[in-house]
Every structure is written in structure tokens, then in C-alpha cells.
Symmetry: C2
Subunit: 233 residues, 2 copies
DNA sequence: GACATACTAGCTGTACACACCTAGTGACTA
DNA sequence: TAGTCACTAGGTGTGTACAGCTAGTATGTC
């Protein structure tokens, strides 16, 4: 059952040495996208070899990720991707739903035309996705959607918190979401439709409202899934 | 005018090597308590010598602090404590006021007797402070108050965000607050009185409400101070 | 005298060797 | 046969040397 994890093409970083920042976001991507599912082990030496650097900068990157609450390292054992407990998942979703409601009231900034264009593009892409579903593509589009929304937030701290909570929620959500392919694509299209409306006719508050609703839907699906999993035992 | 920064006794760490976690929180304390005021430089080598370790674990600690948004490092130059712009301060305070309102609604947990006893103790201590004011003591009590409130929060992510936002706000707040000694002590006593009431008769929501109010007062004082500073120029 | 350039001190970034810790395995013993 | 202990493989934690970068200073030239 856990074999649904997405396959990835081996990422080649060529000869150029990536910076610590690049490595950090790449590792986070892999955790969110379930290339490194919860419980899997990150080995500094392996990553160092892959990125073509020594262990030191890799350690640096991992150390930061540790503080985002995505991994945990134990001396002599290794660094493993954290699996959130049911309660922690609830905490994260509670938080995200509340954060979404703050978009409009906290130092809102104007919505640019580029943002609107990006949302339209995403809607088109997700319609294409519905024709031919691919879990990896679904996750990519969802990720782009997240980046778009994050970019709209005016308050820098809220932006940071929104980002952090996404990192924590992503892995779990993508695991559940990609189980039902058709539902996932349909849900994404629905969300993007409403987002486009909010961007065109409303404002940041409306965007937050749309986000809140769909995070709620997502949470609902996760809860159902957890209940079903409990019943299996 | 910037000479009001608190003097610290040279902290001796004896012969025992402190862990990375200890060093991290110690450095954060120094930033919050303005031993390292904004703009000051943190030198890895110096800290390594003081803590009796090599640069490697110190770098580790600083790297984490960097991601809390407290310092910024530039290759070849050094690591300097960040000075928040007026806008960023507004963002932090906006955020904290909103976060406080969420205490009650997000996975609230019961308030222990130990928490209540701690609040009472703090109230007594702050009354003693009013008799004989000391900026350092004021900051310490405020810090303990923060730890107490943080401990009450049930939602782990909210707890983390509350902590982060405190770190960012602390240095600025303590700078302003300790300018007017009498006001500072009186304000603290007032806040602790209300906090005790909230703990005894109310619940977590009431605690959040008290926090929100006093963060608002604090923000007000900061804004006045910033305006006065602008007028000076 | 003013400006451009080369130099230097002092910092962070990286590589690498080694110490330390942990879990698992195998042999030895009651 | 079950339990204990020593050993080992493989991981992270630390120390140290050196490379790379930057700002400030001194020097040389116009």
C-alpha cells in the first residue's frame, strides 16, 4: 500500500556545485514530494556525493531542515524524515485554516497582473492534467499553486508561517490526494476556478477564504483516510 | 542614546562543553536581551573560544538562528544581528496580536496548577521589581512570563510560531520598554494581574485576550517611540 | 592633492580526518 | 536453548587546516 510513492528521474546537478540554499530547497522538495517518505533515512555522505560537495554544507542544509520540523537526527543512527502523528496533523491543519483567514487583514499588498496570469495558466494546466493524470504532475501543480498564494501574502511573518505549515502538511496531503486520481484533479480544478474568481473580482481576503475552504476539504479527506486505516487494524 | 543596553556578567560555562542546543538558546537569549543589539557582529571564532568548542558546532547553532530571522551572515564580512525595519516590526506585532486570539480555539489543553503557581510567583517578583527597578531583571521576568504563556499553548505549531514571533519582537520591545522604568514595571504588574485572573477564572481564550491587549499596548508604545525618533531627524 | 590600484587582515565557507555513538550480529556461557 | 557480552559496520558530531571573499588601508601614479 505504501508503494504509491512517485518515481523521480535521477536529478543531475552537472558539474556546478549547488549552494547550501539550493540543496536545502531540493531536499525539502524531495520530502514534500515523497521522494523521501516519512521514515526514510537521509545520509549525509550520500547526499554529499550526489551534490558533489563535502558533508559540511550538506550538514548545514539538513540542520536548517531539522528546524523546520521535517527531519530528526539521532547521533549514531542517522537523519530520518519525521512522520507526523494524527494529532500533529490536526494541529497543522487547524493552523493553516486559521492562517488563511488572515491573508486579507494583515498588511495586504496589491495583486499583480502576473499573479492573475499565473493562476490562469495553472487552471489550464490542471485541466490538461485531468485528461491524463500523473501523480508527479499533480504534486507539481499543487506546489506551484502554493507558491503563487504564498507570493500574494503581504505580511512577511505570515508568509513565513504559511510556508512552514505547508512543508509540514505537504507530504501527508500528497500521499492521500494521489490515491484517488480523478478526485484529485477535479478538486484542483475546482480550487483554481475559485481562486481565479477571487483574484479577478475579490481580493486577498477572498483568496484566503478559498484557501481555507479547500484546506478544510483536504483535512476532511485525511481524517476519513485515517479512520479507514484504523478500521483496517 | 543607544547606551542603555544592559550589562551582563561574563557568563562562565566552566569546563563542561555545552551542546549545540545550549549554545543556540544562549545566543538567542543574548540577542533578545540586547547583549548583542541589532547591528552587532557575531564572530564564530570568538564564540567558539568562549564556549570552549571548535567553530563547527558554533556555526551549526548560528545557522539555525539565521533561519529564525535573527541574524544575517555575509561571506567574508561576518554575522550581524538583524535590525527590523519599521514595517517588519509592524508585521511581527500584527501577527502576534492575531496569534494570541487563537490560543483558546486551537487544541487547547488544560491549565495546570503549576502554571497558576508560576503566574503568582511572577506577580510577586514583579512587585518586588517595582520597588527596585533593574532593566535586566525586568527583561528576565518578561522572558519568564513569555515561557509560561508559551507552555499553555496546546497546538504545537502555534506554539512554535508564537515562540518565533517573540524572538523577533523581543529585542525591539525591550529596548523601548526599559527606557521608562516605572511604566515598564507598572505595565508588567498590570499584565500579570490580568493573567492571574484569566488563569483562575477564565481559560486559555482569556489568557490569549490578555496577551493580545498587552501586545497592543506595547505596539502602541513602539509606534510612539518611532514617531518621536523620526521627529528628531 | 586626488584617485586608482595592490595589498593585507580578518572573516566565513569548505574539505577532510578522526572521535564518538548506536544497532545489529555473532560467539560464548549458564 | 536462552541470555549476555564483545565486536563491528556505519552513521553523526567535532576539530582543524585551508580556500575564498570582503572591507579597509597603504601606496604609487597622474
Amino acid at each position: 500500500m505504501e508503494n504509491l510513492d512517485i518515481e523521480f528521474t535521477p536529478d543531475s546537478f552537472g558539474e556546478r556545485k549547488p549552494s547550501v540554499g539550493i540543496m536545502q530547497s531540493e531536499i525539502i522538495r524531495r520530502i514534500c514530494f515523497r521522494k523521501y517518505p516519512p521514515g526514510s533515512q537521509l545520509k549525509e555522505a550520500e547526499l554529499a556525493a550526489e551534490f558533489g560537495v563535502s558533508r559540511t554544507p550538506v550538514r548545514d542544509a539538513i540542520s536548517r531542515i531539522k528546524h523546520l520540523g521535517l527531519v530528526e537526527t539521532c547521533n549514531g543512527v542517522g537523519t530520518v524524515v519525521i512522520e507526523l502523528s494524527d494529532e500533529q496533523i490536526r494541529h497543522v491543519y487547524e493552523m493553516r485554516m486559521h492562517l488563511a483567514t488572515l491573508f486579507g487583514s494583515m498588511s495586504a499588498k496589491p495583486i499583480s497582473e502576473a499573479n492573475k496570469a499565473c493562476a490562469k495558466q495553472l487552471l489550464d494546466d490542471s485541466k490538461a492534467l485531468q485528461q491524463q493524470f500523473s501523480p508527479k504532475r499533480y504534486i507539481e501543480l499543487n506546489h506551484q499553486l502554493h507558491n503563487l498564494v504564498t507570493d500574494l501574502i503581504g505580511n512577511t511573518l505570515l508568509q513565513s508561517f504559511w510556508q512552514q505549515s505547508y512543508y509540514q502538511a505537504a507530504s501527508t496531503w500528497y500521499r492521500i490526494a494521489t490515491l484517488a486520481e480523478a478526485d484529485a484533479a477535479t478538486g484542483l480544478i475546482l480550487e483554481l476556478n475559485e481562486l481565479n474568481d477571487a483574484l479577478q473580482q475579490g481580493g486577498l481576503s477572498e483568496v484566503g477564504f478559498v484557501q481555507r475552504i479547500h484546506i478544510g476539504y483536504g483535512f476532511q479527506r485525511i481524517k476519513e483516510h485515517l479512520l479507514a486505516a484504523d478500521a483496517d487494524e
